[in-house]
């Protein structure tokens, strides 16, 4: 094992961590199983890649991609809150539509960015830190995301978001429209996911139509690992914890690759990791000889 492997896992983990935070917002805070994610991460990459090869500033594309993710969230929110389609199905419908939309945006299934400048080429740190250029840029973006989200969750709107996932009846009795709050949550979550997608595309040097498949499971895996390590008591800790969860998850994936698994086995491995973590409480209570079903 060498340093390069560690740095790559760390960088990937941090970037995908932003996506995992999006998943945390919908699955945990809002209690909304949102599958839009698989589509909106590709959307972020597609928008950025297309803009970059057209000649736009790569940093500008981050912002546009984030907005595009927000629109994807709006559509899922619309399907659910206005048309009363079940959360799971709303997400799947948007995700499926996004496949065609992403192809339209890109014009072809794959856009390589090798010959174009990305944010990682534009961002230069002088002195002897320049070999950590990419890592530092990624860390900066992650920090901005973390701080923004934590501050947001302390505002009136943030409180409403947290309470809506917890007890919608109470939120309505506090004169707040839970439908609008769901919409806002989905917009924020998918913005983060698309931002993550935009970064991934630029980091790996291409956008691909199928890059989003299984994203939701990777996101859930990161959330769960983060929660197991940090605990679920306070969001001040959980939110950075999810980033750590994502880094550990990418690390274990890289480790699996190095120990001989094919890249095509990764989705199965990811699913197994999630199953393992989700079933831990049951296995523990089984081994402890007591029946203690605590579903959540």
């Amino acid at each position: 094992m060498h340093l390069g492997f560690l740095v790559t896992s760390l960088e990937q983990g941090l970037i995908y961590g932003i996506m995992a935070i999006g998943v945390y917002i919908t699955f945990r805070i809002l209690d909304f199983a949102d599958l839009t994610v698989d589509g909106s991460i590709t959307l972020g990459a597609a928008v950025s890649a297309k803009m970059i090869i057209t000649g736009y500033n790569p940093f500008l594309t981050l912002i546009v991609a984030t907005f595009a993710g927000g629109i994807a969230g709006t559509i899922t929110g619309f399907l659910n809150t206005k048309l009363n389609i079940a959360p799971l199905l709303s997400g799947i419908l948007t995700m499926t539509s996004l496949y065609s939309i992403n192809l339209r945006i890109m014009g072809r299934p794959n856009i390589p960015l090798i010959s174009n400048e990305t944010i990682f080429d534009l961002f230069n740190i002088p002195y002897n830190l320049s070999s950590y250029n990419e890592l530092i840029l990624i860390l900066l973006v992650v920090l901005v995301v973390l701080i923004t989200l934590i501050l947001f969750l302390k505002t009136k709107l943030g409180f409403a978001l947290r309470a809506t996932g917890d007890n919608p009846v109470m939120v309505r009795s506090m004169a707040i429209n839970t439908k609008s709050i769901k919409m806002i949550g989905l917009i924020i979550a998918n913005s983060f996911v698309a931002l993550s997608g935009s970064l991934i595309g630029q980091y790996q040097g291409f956008a691909d139509i199928s890059m989003g498949i299984g994203t939701i499971i990777a996101g859930l895996a990161s959330v769960i690992i983060g929660e197991v390590i940090i605990g679920r008591d306070s969001f001040y800790f959980i939110i950075p914890g999810i980033i750590i969860g994502s880094v550990l998850y990418r690390g274990s994936i890289s480790f699996a690759l190095m120990s001989g698994f094919a890249a095509s086995d990764l989705k199965l491995l990811t699913a197994l990791i999630v199953i393992l973590f989700l079933s831990t409480p049951r296995i523990k209570s089984y081994l402890g000889g007591k029946i203690n079903v605590e579903a959540d």
Binding site: K156, L157, A160, R162, A163, M170, M174, A175, I176
Partner: protein, 266 residues
């Protein structure tokens, strides 16, 4: 100030299971009325309060509050002037949020949702002040998550949250029924204190006839989706449980022999 005109609610309309929960109810509630509502299971008491709160659309009829027709106003908008406490202590608070966070949402009820801080120093002061008024020592546990509180504490908190911004109408749906007797008495006293201090117009469902007689200035009896008895003022003061039973039997041949009603005579 609150008027229900010909309010009717049928659940599962046009199906085999259609149930008429409210049948052409007319009711006029005056300012500062404190009304207790009794009746057997399925009499339509909760449906009556839910219609006022706007939980569902009415089958027909109108609801007028302070000369404004609120029949089509969504539930969350009515919450601006209607406070509610539910039977289930889990319904009124957000368990994963702290006492302070829950109360701050109640304090923010009459302001717009925005990106302003939900809690600040001034609000924390007000929250502490309000909490010390209810005498449960909760003012020293601001950062405790509500899920760690007992049913009684949660119900007291819900009551405070429902009235901290004074509502035009307070709806209490058997809010002490899920509590142990000693706690129920405490919450009842607290309810009485808050309502009389702030002169809040209140509708309270209870299955306890004694409470129904002791509390408030007016009493309604419901059966099969209809108001069958309405008494107020001095006449109500002079009533006893036996009177209530007699009236019920006279008005309704079927009798009041429903397990809950009998169990609650004490």
């Amino acid at each position: 100030m609150l008027k229900l005109i010909n309010v009717t609610k049928t659940f599962n309309v046009n199906t085999f299971n259609a149930t008429k929960a409210l049948k052409n109810v007319d009711l006029e509630v005056k300012n500062n009325d404190f009304i207790t509502i009794i009746g057997g299971n399925g009499a339509g008491k909760s449906t009556l309060l839910n219609s006022i709160a706007g939980v569902f659309d009415l089958t027909c009829g109108d609801i007028i509050l302070s000369d404004k027709n609120i029949t089509d106003m969504p539930e969350y908008k009515r919450a601006n002037f209607i406070g509610r406490v539910f039977q289930d202590p889990l319904m009124g608070t957000s368990p994963e949020m702290t006492i302070e966070e829950n109360l701050s949402m109640a304090l923010n009820k009459d302001t717009n949702l925005s990106l302003k801080w939900a809690v600040n120093k001034k609000k924390r002061g007000r929250i502490k002040e309000h909490l010390s008024e209810i005498n449960l020592g909760l003012e020293n546990r601001l950062d405790t998550k509500v899920k760690f509180l007992s049913g009684g504490q949660r119900q007291a908190l819900t009551l405070l949250m429902a009235t901290i911004i004074e509502p035009e109408i307070l709806l209490l749906d058997e809010h002490t029924a899920a509590l142990d007797p000693a706690t129920a008495i405490k919450i009842n006293e607290l309810t009485q204190k808050i309502i009389s201090n702030h002169k809040i117009t209140t509708l309270m469902i209870t299955h306890n006839m004694k409470d129904a007689l002791n509390f408030g200035n007016r009493l309604l009896m419901m059966n099969h989706g209809k108001l069958i008895f309405d008494v107020q003022g001095q006449t109500k003061e002079n009533m006893t449980i036996n009177h209530l039973l007699e009236i019920f039997q006279k008005k309704h041949k079927q009798g009041f022999y429903n397990d809950r009603a009998i169990l609650s005579l004490a």
